[in-house]
Each structure stands twice: as C-alpha cells, then as structure tokens.
C-alpha cells in the first residue's frame, strides 16, 4: 500500500473517530477526473479522490487534513496532502504545526511590490509557526516539489531539499524587521537576508531587503484615495533564491509607477522600468535588457460612456539584437440598461510586424442569462498574413441550483511574435455547475485550445525546466473535467470555512484594556467615577472611585472603546468623539484614557416688576442658539451645557425681572447674564443650589 493512501486511510479513521466524539467539524470529499489529449503531457488522464476536513479539538486547536490521491498513466500520484494543527494556544503565543505539503512565502515581512516576482517554496516536510504579539517565527524543512497539471495538480519532487527559518518582529510602532535563512540541498546553497519595513502612516510603506549572496531590494509605496506612487530598485544574484523550477536569472533595475484619480472616476496612470536580466543557462536570452514604458487614462462621460486608452512601449535588447514592441489600445463602452456595447482599437508593432485590429463587443446581461458576442477585424500591414476576422461569443445561464456557461472562438487570429503576446486561439469551453441537494455538487467542463503561434524566445526557456514545457506551450489540446463533491459537517458546524473563524474566536489569545476617565473643568481636571466604558458595544465597565476601569480577557485584535452614552450619568455631556479603536496584543495591557466634560445648566424665572410670573415668554440662550418658553410659574431652564459664559435674551418689550440660579457643580465655570430684547433687565443673582 502506498504511503499517500495509507495517510489517507489514517486521516479518515481519525476523522471518523473525532466525529464519534461529537466534536465540531466539517469536511468535503470529492471525486475528480481529468482527461486531456496532448501527447507530450504525461497527465493526460488523472482521476482520484480528495478529502478535506476540519475538526475543532477542545483545548487543543483546529485540526485540518487534506488528502488527495490520483492515478494517471504513471500510477498513483499524490495531490495536496497535509495535516495541520492550528490555533494551538501556548502562553501568549499561537502555534501551528503542519506535516506534509506546505507552501512557504520566503518573505517574513510582507513586501508590498507586486512588480517584483519571487518563488514560493513548495515543500513536503514539517513546518512549525509561532505567532506572538510582536513576533513571528517559522521553521521548516522538507523536500521541494513542483506542480504539474491544469485542473488536477500533481506533485512531483524536484530532488532539492530545503530547510529554513523566518523571523519577524515589530520593533516599534510601524516598524518591522525580518530575517530569512535558507539552506538548499542539491545543488547546495545557503542564502540569508534581512528585511526592514517602515509604515509611518497608513498610506506610506517603505521596504528594504539586503541579503547574501549579494542582493538588494528597496522601494516605497504611497497610496491614498487620490493617488498611488510605487517605486522599487532590485539587484539580485542568480543564486538569490535558487529554487529548482524557478527561472533563476540575475536581475537588476528600477521600476516606478504612478496613478492619479483626478475626479469622479477619471484616472491617469503610467509606469516605467529598466531591467537587465542574465540567464546563465539560456542561450538565446543569456543576457537581455528591457526598457518598458506604460501610460494611460480612463474615465467616463455623461450617458454611461466609459473611455480608456493605454500605450505600452517595450524595448528588448538581447545578444542577438534588439526589438521594440508597442501596443496602443483605445477602448470605449456604453451601457443601455441591460445591453453594453464595447469597442476597442488596438495596434501592435514589433520588429517585423504591425498589426491593427478593431473589435466590437455586444454584451447583454439579464437576470439569469448573460450573452456576449464580439467580432474583431485584424490586419497585418507587414508580413504575409493579410486581413482576418475573429469571432467569439459566450453565454452564462443560471437556473436555481444549476449554472451553465459556454464560450467559443472562431477565425484566424494573428499573433505577434513578441514577448507581449503569446496568443491562444480557438479556445472553446463549455461547462456546468450543479448544486445538488444535501451538500452534493457536480461540476463538469470541457474545453479545447489551439496555440497557433508561440514566441520563439519563450520557447527557448522551455528547455530550462519542465514546468515551462508542460504548462505554457501545449498545442491543440482538448480536455474534460468532472468533479463530484459532497460537503458534510458534524457537531453543529456549518462549513469548513466557518470553522477557522470559530476556532480563532473560541481560543483567543487575550490581553487587558484598562485606563482612567477624567472630567475636565475649566482650570483643571479630576477623576470621574461611575463612568460607563463600553467595549465593542457588548461589555461595559464602570469606573471606580479612582476613575479607573479595566477589561480583562479581551481577545487579541482591534476593538472599539467608547463612553456608553446610555449609562453615562447626566452630570456629564455625551462625548462628541464617539469611539476609539485599540489593538489588543496577547498577554499585554493596553491603556486608553478618556476625558468627559461636565454638564452644567441653570434655570430661572421671569416675573413682572410687580412679581407676577410670566408664562409663555421665549428665553434664548447664547451661544448655543437654544430657546425655551417659560412655564405657568414663569420658570425656564437650560441644561446639558458646556461650562462657560452664557447670555440669555428674554423676548418682549416690557420691563421684566429675570432671576437665575446655577445648577452647576462646585468648581464649574458658568456665568450668566440676562437681558430683555428691548429694555434693560434687572438681574437678581441667586445663590447656587
């Protein structure tokens, strides 16, 4: 019995055992079959079973197992096989253990540059990860493998082993440092790097990496709602990350990108790069340099008209010469309720060809049905291919639990011999997805593709490793795929995805939020007792006699703190700043203080000179633009005021007497002047009550 199959059976037994314990869990089992007719592709017939399940193990963590076993012409082949135990809480750290297949991102500090490609490490071995408040550790070791197959990915060992350590630590607010140390076997190599990331504000990120063998990556991004600027410089040795199967050339050069959102949805963008790459093993491209410029704009006009234009210029210099590639494209679209008309003009210019095309696309989107049809007229002004027409169409139909889709192309597509365009043509596909009842699902599709023209330079790369040969340059291939799945759950779980969130929530690393509340007076402050502080709207802590409050066992992460308006005593004003966001780290104490303002007020009485109370007299307060009317006894009252100086106006033309009395607490500054609108008022100050 093969090891993968044994692994599968052991895991299945474990799942059944855990299910018998009535733990919370969920899983998916599926049967997959893939057939293709491509003679040079070994995975032309693969079929097998995949099982994924997750189980919450009390007081331990979340157990996840994925078993995939397929067969093809070469016999049994493993798919993605691993078992992991996540969310294991030990002290103030969260541990994760993985056995089997794992993909490792070699950057311990997240690098924010999508223009800088790098390989992930696909290992079959052991990995341990530890996450704490400020730090992250990862240690791993195993054999590397590469993936092969379009719909069913089979794992093939590369024969290269790798072991490494990744470490990341937040050393200050917005500053992280990271260390990577890797050892590769066969061919043996050691690499190491130190990384630095600085985020002084949400919009700005600076990243730098320096390593051995000599390499450097440095850059910055500045992204706001209105603009994006990104700039990098990279210089990496061919042995920077010597992963077998990855095109490991040496490269160097700068890159810059900018995008400006002018107004509404109007946008201009552009980028520029100048890179030099050396492939020591690839003769035609042993050394090449590329200078690339891209510029464009997009926006909309009234009447639901969308416009965009883009120009790309790439100059490629190799040992055999240089060639310039240019693509200019202009697109326009207008929507008429459910119908959208799109048009595109495009010109591709390379060293020896110039191709122009115009395409019209019609798209109709109804409630359950979408239809697309397009015609492209192409003309090559140099060369011998002349004028061609290409047609393409597609539909998607949704009927309750059944979804159908199909697309097809016809005609002779002109493909430019350029690194920019390696065109698939006559790509025809049809498929269906059916969500059967009780967690069963069925997906089938079939497609055919014919690659008429391939780039001679890229073809040269296929001699380097089998990945390029298998994936990118298949010709005249048709395939069919079927996947039958069944989702199941036990112990009250809903789905595999929900279990991850539930696990993290049920075994949180916790910290403490504490602080003090002060009441601010005009000339100082004092502690405030009996102030309700709300955590995430569902926990309330009242401040004690020292003005302190504390929330213990607060799960790590971002939380919202605020003074609870409903339970705030009337002696204080409702805070104008509604909420504060705090981040709780495991085992740590976060301090967050609040200041409340005292609520003051005063009342009074409006009488005639003769002492008769006046009802219905409008009394106005300044500042504050508030008003009230005296009651039957001539009384009025203002409260909920900030401390300060106020004046009141009493409407009317008669001579009246206004008596006021402060309702403020001792120490609160509140001075009141009173006057009538027309005539002077006799003000009689009363002692504070």
């Amino acid at each position: 019995m093969s090891r993968p199959l044994l692994f599968c059976l052991v895991s299945l037994a474990l799942a059944l055992r855990l299910a018998a314990e009535d733990l919370r869990g969920a899983g998916t089992i599926s049967f997959e079959s893939f057939h293709s007719r491509t003679p040079e592709y070994t995975g032309d017939r693969s079929e097998g079973v995949a099982l994924n399940f997750r189980t919450l193990v009390p007081r331990l963590g979340l157990l996840t197992t994925n078993i995939e076993v397929f067969s093809n012409r070469a016999g049994w082949r493993p798919g993605l096989n691993y078992a992991s135990l996540d969310d294991v809480r030990i002290g103030a750290h969260r541990w994760k253990f993985t056995v089997g297949n794992a993909q490792v991102d070699p950057f311990p500090v997240q690098q924010p540059f999508p223009n800088v490609p790098y390989p992930r490490l696909n290992i079959n071995g052991l990995r341990v990860e530890v996450s704490g408040e400020k730090s992250y550790y990862s240690a791993f070791a195993g054999q590397q493998y590469f993936l092969q197959g379009t719909r069913i990915s089979l794992r093939y060992p590369t024969g290269q082993s790798v072991a490494g350590i990744l470490y990341r630590r937040r050393v200050a607010q917005g500053i992280e440092v990271g260390i990577r140390a890797l050892h590769f076997g066969r061919p043996s190599a050691n690499t190491a790097a130190i990384e630095f990331a600085w985020r002084p504000r949400d919009s700005l990120r600076v990243f730098a990496e320096a390593g051995a063998p000599a390499s450097v990556l440095i850059g910055a991004t500045w992204e706001t709602r209105r603009a994006l600027f990104r700039s990098t410089y990279v210089r990496q040795n061919a042995a920077y990350l010597p992963v077998v199967g990855y095109l490991n050339g040496a490269r160097r050069g700068p890159f810059a990108e900018a995008r400006l959102n002018l107004f509404r949805d109007a946008q201009v963008f552009g980028s520029a790069s100048n890179t030099e790459t050396v492939f020591s093993m690839v003769k035609p491209l042993q050394r090449y340099a590329a200078t690339s410029l891209t510029a464009g704009a997009s926006g909309s006009l009234p009447g639901s008209i969308a416009l965009s234009a883009q120009f790309t210029h790439v100059e490629l210099r190799t040992l055999s010469g240089s060639q310039t590639n240019q693509i200019a494209a202009f697109r326009a679209a207008r929507q008429f309720r459910v119908y959208t008309l799109r048009a595109e003009l495009r010109q591709i210019a390379t060293l020896d060809t110039r191709q122009r095309s115009v395409e019209l696309e019609h798209y109709v989107r109804l409630r359950r049905l979408s239809l697309l049809g397009a015609t492209r007229l192409q003309r090559e002004s140099t060369g011998v291919r002349g004028t061609t027409l290409v047609y393409r169409g597609g539909l998607q139909l949704t009927l309750a639990r059944l979804s159908l889709y199909a697309s097809g192309e016809a005609g002779r597509d002109l493909a430019a011999r350029s690194l920019l365009t390696t065109t698939l043509t006559q790509n025809t596909a049809a498929g269906a997805e059916w969500r059967i009842v009780n967690g069963w699902g069925l997906a089938v599709d079939a497609w055919s593709a014919r690659l008429l023209n391939t780039n001679r330079d890229l073809l040269a790369l296929s001699t380097v490793n089998p990945i390029f040969a298998a994936g990118a340059f298949e010709r005249n291939q048709w395939s069919a795929y079927l996947r039958l799945t069944h989702d199941f759950a036990w112990g009250g779980a809903t789905s595999v995805g929900d279990l991850g969130q539930y696990s993290r929530a049920s075994t949180p690393l916790v910290g403490v939020i504490a602080g003090q509340v002060h009441v601010a007076y005009g000339d100082g402050s004092s502690i405030a007792a009996d102030i309700p502080v709300s955590l995430d709207g569902d926990r309330i802590a009242m401040t004690n006699a020292a003005g302190g409050y504390e929330f213990s066992n607060v799960p790590e992460g971002r939380h919202t703190l605020m003074i609870d308006e409903r339970q705030l005593p009337v002696d204080y004003l409702v805070p104008t700043v509604p909420a504060t966001s705090v981040v709780v780290a495991p085992g740590r104490r976060v301090r967050e203080d609040f200041v409340v303002q005292p609520s003051v007020g005063f009342g009074g009485q409006v009488d005639t000179d003769a002492g008769m109370p006046l009802e219905g007299i409008v009394v106005r307060l300044h500042p504050g633009n508030r008003r009230t009317v005296t009651d039957r006894e001539g009384r009025f009252r203002f409260d909920g005021l900030r401390e300060g100086d106020y004046e009141i106006d009493v409407d009317g033309e008669a001579r009246v007497a206004v008596r006021v009395a402060h309702l403020a607490e001792p120490g609160v500054v509140l001075r009141v002047k009173a006057r009538t609108t027309e005539k002077p008022t006799r003000l009689i100050e009363l002692p504070a009550n």
């Binding site: 009996d530 309700p532 308006e565 409903r566 339970q567 705030l568 005593p569 009337v570 002696d571 409702v574 609520s599 007020g601 005639t608 006046l614 009802e615 219905g616 007299i617 409008v618 008003r627 009230t628 009317v629 009651d631 009252r637 203002f638 409260d639 909920g640 409407d651 009317g652 033309e653 008669a654």
Partner: protein, 277 residues
C-alpha cells in the same frame, strides 16, 4: 382648560391651550399617544444598592408630522381609588425617589420622525431603608417658541415610572375588604370592590382575581386583577365591573397571590342579587 391672556403686549397672539393631561403610561399602556409622542420604556424596575449611582436612558420619539417641543419633569405618583395613576409635583411619601432622579435633557425639540435619548441618573443616598422607592419622569409637549399658534393646540404627556428596590424583596400585604358599591356617576349600577393593603415596604402586583360562584357551586364568572402596583404602606382598591346579573346567594370569592409563600382568599355573599344596571 385655560386661556392665556396677553400681558402688556408681550405676545400679541391669542392662544387657546387645551391641556389634555393624558398620562399615557404607567402600566402596560400603549407606547404612542395619538398625537405622536413615543416613550420607551414605560416602566423601569431596578434593584439598587444604597450609596450607588444608576444611569440609563429612555428613548423619546416624535412620530407626529411636525416638530415638537418636549419638557421633562420629575414627579411623584400614586394610584387613586378609581385605579387611575395620579402624578404630583411633590409628595411627602417616604418611598419617593423623586429627589434622587435627574434627567437630561429637560427641554428638547424633536423633529418629525426623530428619536432622542433622554438620560437619567439616580443617586441613591447612603442611608436608606430597604424597600421599593418610586417616582416618575413625565415628558410633556409644549408650544414651540416663536411659533405662531392660533386655535386649539393639544398637549400630551408621556410618563415613565421608576421602581427602585433596595434590599431583598419580601412582599407583605393582605386582603382588607370585599364589597359592592354603586358606580359614582350612576347609582343604578354597581361594581365589586376588593381592597388590599401593602403592609410592607416593597411594591407588589397581585395575581389572581375574582370568581363569582353560584349557590350550587358553579363558577359563573372570573375576572382577573388588573396589573397594577400596590405601593408600600398604601391601601389599594381593585374594581371589578358587573356585566351580568349576579344571582342571590352567589358567592364572591377573591384569591390573591402577592409573591409570598401563600395565597390569600376571601369571600363575600351579597344579600341580594346584583343587576348590571
């Protein structure tokens, strides 16, 4: 009804105020008055400790189609002999919590469809005896300042009653009397009155009611107690209307459970039949 007159020309318009003192709420009465003033909750019952502060909020809403000015006041209350709650500005009731209560805001204008939070705070004295203390916050509509009003303006009042209990609840009380009396405005009609007395310091609401049993032992009619508080140290009348003739010899039985360890029962046999009119 009262008519406010001009004073020295200070307000030139004539205003007819009809003050409909509609006490919307003290028990489980509707939350919205017809004029569109809403208040929630209508009753607050809280266990408290001496020397503490208790704060929370009421929600006041204007469901009328015009801006309303609301004025708040803190009142005492009691239930009169006709089972109607009566609100007074001040009483000498030993169980009044009026002086502990503050609300904010006390004067607010609410636009149509809007709601405002009215916060309240009780500051409980250090030295108080165990018992249920009660008071009310009343919210009355008032004329909008500067608004020219002519004709009839209807003002309404919505009330939240507070019952603040200190210490362990131990209801004490007894049935006092069961009798028949004539309606105050129609001497040809009668009603049955059950008088109970709260001899303790905690508010309670009796559960049970009146059963009319024929001489043959058949239960002719059953009327439950109205859900109404019996305030500490007070006697309270529960009124049962007579809607059908009660034959001579019928037994009027009242059973009352106030939440203690017993059910009290009393009965009374009228000397003659009682006619509904």
């Amino acid at each position: 009804m009262e008519v406010s007159s001009n004073f020295n020309g200070m307000q030139r318009h004539t205003q007819l105020h009809t003050y409909c003192a509609i006490a919307i709420a003290i028990l489980a009465w509707p939350a919205y008055a017809q004029t569109g003033l809403g208040l929630s909750p209508l009753r607050v019952e809280t266990a408290i400790e001496a020397g503490t502060t208790v704060s929370n909020a009421l929600v006041l809403s204007n469901v009328a189609d015009r801006t309303t000015s609301i004025r708040a006041e803190v009142l005492d209350f009691y239930v009169d002999s006709e089972q109607e709650p009566q609100f007074v500005a001040s009483s000498q009731d030993a169980y009044s919590c009026r002086t502990w209560l503050r609300v904010s805001p006390t004067d607010v204008e609410i636009a149509p469809g809007q709601r405002v939070l009215v916060r309240y705070t009780f500051r409980i004295p250090e030295e108080i005896a165990a018992g249920t203390y009660y008071c009310a916050a009343a919210f009355s509509t008032a004329p909008i300042p500067d608004e020219k009003v002519s004709g009839l303006s209807v003002n309404v009042r919505a009330i939240t009653s507070f019952y603040m209990t200190v210490g362990r609840t131990r209801p004490e009380g007894t049935l006092r009397r069961l009798y028949v009396e004539a309606l105050p405005n129609d001497s040809t009609r009668s009603r049955i009155v059950c008088e109970v007395e709260n001899t303790g310091s905690y508010v309670w609401r009796p559960i049970g009611g009146l059963s009319i049993v024929s001489a043959e032992g058949e239960v002719l009619h059953e009327i439950p107690f109205r859900s109404m508080p019996v305030l500490p140290g007070r006697k309270q009348r529960f009124l049962f209307p007579v809607t059908e003739e009660i034959p001579q010899g019928a037994d009027l039985r009242v059973r009352m459970d106030i939440g203690g360890g017993e059910t009290q029962e009393g009965h009374f046999v009228p000397a003659a039949s009682i006619l509904p009119r």
